[in-house]
Symmetry: C2
Subunit: 552 residues, 2 copies
Amino acid sequence: MSDTCRIIALGGLGEVGKNMTAYECEGSIVVVDAGLAFPRDEHLGVDLVLPDFGYLRDRADSIQAVVLTHGHEDHVGSLPYLMRDVPIPEVWATRLTLGLIKSKLDEHGLLRAAELREIHPDDPPRELGPFRISFVRMAHSIPDAVAIVLETPAGRIVHTGDYKLDHTPVDGLKTDVGRLAELGNLGVDLLLGDSTNAERPGFTQSERIVGEAFRQIFPLRQGRILVSSFASNVHRMQQAVDVAVELGRKVCIVGRSMRKNANIARNLGYMEIPEGVLVRPPELDELDPSEQLILCTGSQGEPLSALTRIAYNDHPAIHVERGDTVIISAKPVPGNELRVHDTINQLAKTGAEVLHQEIAPVHVSGHACAEELRTLLSLLRPRAVMPVHGEFRMLAAHAQLAREAGVPAGAIVLAENGTVVELSADGVRVVGEVETGMAFVDGLGVGDVHDVALRDRRRLSEDGVLIVVATVAGSNGGSAGPTELIARGFGDGSGPLLEELRDEANRVLEGCLREDITEIKLLQEHLHDELGQLVYDRTHRRPMILPVVVEV
Amino acid sequence: MSDTCRIIALGGLGEVGKNMTAYECEGSIVVVDAGLAFPRDEHLGVDLVLPDFGYLRDRADSIQAVVLTHGHEDHVGSLPYLMRDVPIPEVWATRLTLGLIKSKLDEHGLLRAAELREIHPDDPPRELGPFRISFVRMAHSIPDAVAIVLETPAGRIVHTGDYKLDHTPVDGLKTDVGRLAELGNLGVDLLLGDSTNAERPGFTQSERIVGEAFRQIFPLRQGRILVSSFASNVHRMQQAVDVAVELGRKVCIVGRSMRKNANIARNLGYMEIPEGVLVRPPELDELDPSEQLILCTGSQGEPLSALTRIAYNDHPAIHVERGDTVIISAKPVPGNELRVHDTINQLAKTGAEVLHQEIAPVHVSGHACAEELRTLLSLLRPRAVMPVHGEFRMLAAHAQLAREAGVPAGAIVLAENGTVVELSADGVRVVGEVETGMAFVDGLGVGDVHDVALRDRRRLSEDGVLIVVATVAGSNGGSAGPTELIARGFGDGSGPLLEELRDEANRVLEGCLREDITEIKLLQEHLHDELGQLVYDRTHRRPMILPVVVEV
């Protein structure tokens, strides 16, 4: 069949994070988004998680462009790593998204590595190989988000990116339901839609709700007010600034990423702070607490972030005290709950009042809930649906909503990363699978953390390590020199157990040598197994045992 | 002052878990509860966390009894460890609590180590040294919970234990508000109250709500129904069983702790399962899925639990498939969210419907929310309040509620573990501090995980370990034999970096020997520092570097 389009998610299915989808048609590939994910507990020592770029690397010549839906890390964060690995001719994005990635590419020395093209929802469709591409304005928790419409020889595809149907967004730029309805009337053959909140009933509240909460909270406070949110949540910051300005408070932005993003947003006209309102941290000393609004990073309890340092009284310029109010205007990403609770407890100990999303309306989600997904399905009336952006339970809930909206079960694809989905005049079907996976960024290296290293780190982290250094005489095979034991992360590093293990090691060695076992590998194996057993018998732990036999 | 009572929390303040409070009066000590906590991420390789028993050990002769409020692990779990460490003459508890701890003490061979005395809320007060002790029935997420009333020469103290004001509990045994009001009329000098939900506005819903949800969900289902909850939530199990019996489903209980608890509860009359309803896992094969209710452990996503094994299709007797319904009737304890999400996703992949507390009313809390705490404060009208059971933010919220209820700020004690609080005719005041802390259970050992071991494990877990084995000739100090490097959890264990490090190690050694540095300690220091720097330069990681220099 010639008029087909293949859709392959390289990330973002069965997970929240590292969203990346390849659209392939007549030998041309368009990549939508290039996100990253943050490591989970079991990714010990890993800093970032990237999609595996192997599929794109093998088809580098086919890639026409990377098209970005919005500037969040889980949609743009792996772009520099992708560009270091695979030549990308063009990157398309809206104005703010482009501003954010330019700063990122600059840090990686990649500013000139691809042509950066600014796109706008009002632009007429652009040709890109066999694709005609246009955009629909969508509301989200960062300005300038778009859905992408790909007209392909196989049919019309709408890829929503992240969105919600906020009818009163802070910038007035609503999700363009008119254009979505128009697309529905023209006919949508396949919808790839954000599933993050598909399990949640009802509607997500407007971002404006948070501004109203600020408007209720701020005037009653006499002390400092701190607001911590995601560094990219430009509208959240804007709303806090607006209320502060009305009340005559000065604004100080603290935390590298938030300062950077605020600068970019201000320069591009996405954020307005009147002249004279912004102050630098050292200037806070000259202001009464009642004249301060501090916007800061750290809403996820990140160890080195501004709010965490403030909470532990470890910030050079800012401290909080009784009478101050700290607003954590974000929800903990799953896995960060304990860290955020620690920060709240630490702040509460200073006597400050801490308001967070569990007890006050100081946060709303950026993602559409079930009724909004139903609305989108009604507007677009897609012939087929492929839920994207979410853990499996979310994708499954989105699929259920599509079924309830009248999409036939056979036209709903619950794909995984790597599933090859083909759209043709006959509809959608799964035609194969490609290899996908994760690449880890660890220190300076990309992809240098191997599974075995992670497994070792896990084992080391649970039970520690016991190193046994023994010397044997080379020629006659007699034991020579005392055995040395080093324990780390295991017991207290000394004591009777180590004595016993040392004796046992000597016994094992002597036993081996008596039986003429002199080969180093065999000696190590005996030491490993017999000491391992003794340690387990005594402690029920299994430290990693590393025997080193030195022939002298 | 002679008529004083000292109150010292040895656990449970500034944390959720390991609740334990000592009441000391005229040289006699009564200990209320002996709980444990579960390890946090940073407690690598730790199985359980106990209170530090040091304070009690030093005053063992004064201890009259341990009195237990209810049978949850965070209130009774450290009792066997305490009894192994400190002689405890008597343990007082209600019938079910006693049943649960008996089984625990039996496992530790401690069944005869203390006199076990069954108490009942209707009992007249009992004398215990200078204390007169009585009990008030409280509703909670385990049957047979009580508050403890301690009449002391310094005044009347009420210690609530965990509770909520459930007016329609499953067993009909409500929180005894009449008795609480009576105590309020007699005069309460100090209240120690559960703070877990103090931040949450409103009322906690009745346990019966969950039964109603079961009653709505079960009849619509054709496939298997699985309900996973805490193993001690007897009423949750009872409600599921009741609906199953009405619908003609058989019940299978899976998971060691749940089977054990259900047995104890049935034997003591706290749970009723009609004859012929209970089946064993192998018998499920003979039943249609529509005839099965499976109650199982694993609501926290614990790695080896029944539900986790079922989700990963790794259970010998039970598997789930499309058409089945899995109800996770619990809320993830903070820190367990990702594991629970994994389980839900894995179950969703089988095609089963998964209902959990985020999307269906299949769980209610066991702890009183703000309006209930206000109600308790109104009933008891305590002269002084010491919030207990909770993180600092929860204690602070409870303190705020007490202030709003009219308790003077000076009569509210925000104590930490170890704070010595004294009650006298003059009210409460902080008079000192004793040493408290955590003891870790790790394998077979108690308290054998030292801070330094945890620090080492943390470091090993993040960056791995690099072991450098070098040999030097003893007498002439010349280098001898090749240097050996072993990397674990660091890089891929081979490759050019290890080559470079080996060369560097040889260079360092030769350099040292040239400068007549031959002392082993010094050689190790040089190797450690210079290889560490090289590794950091190349990788920006800091593996633990363990140089071993063997003199031959």
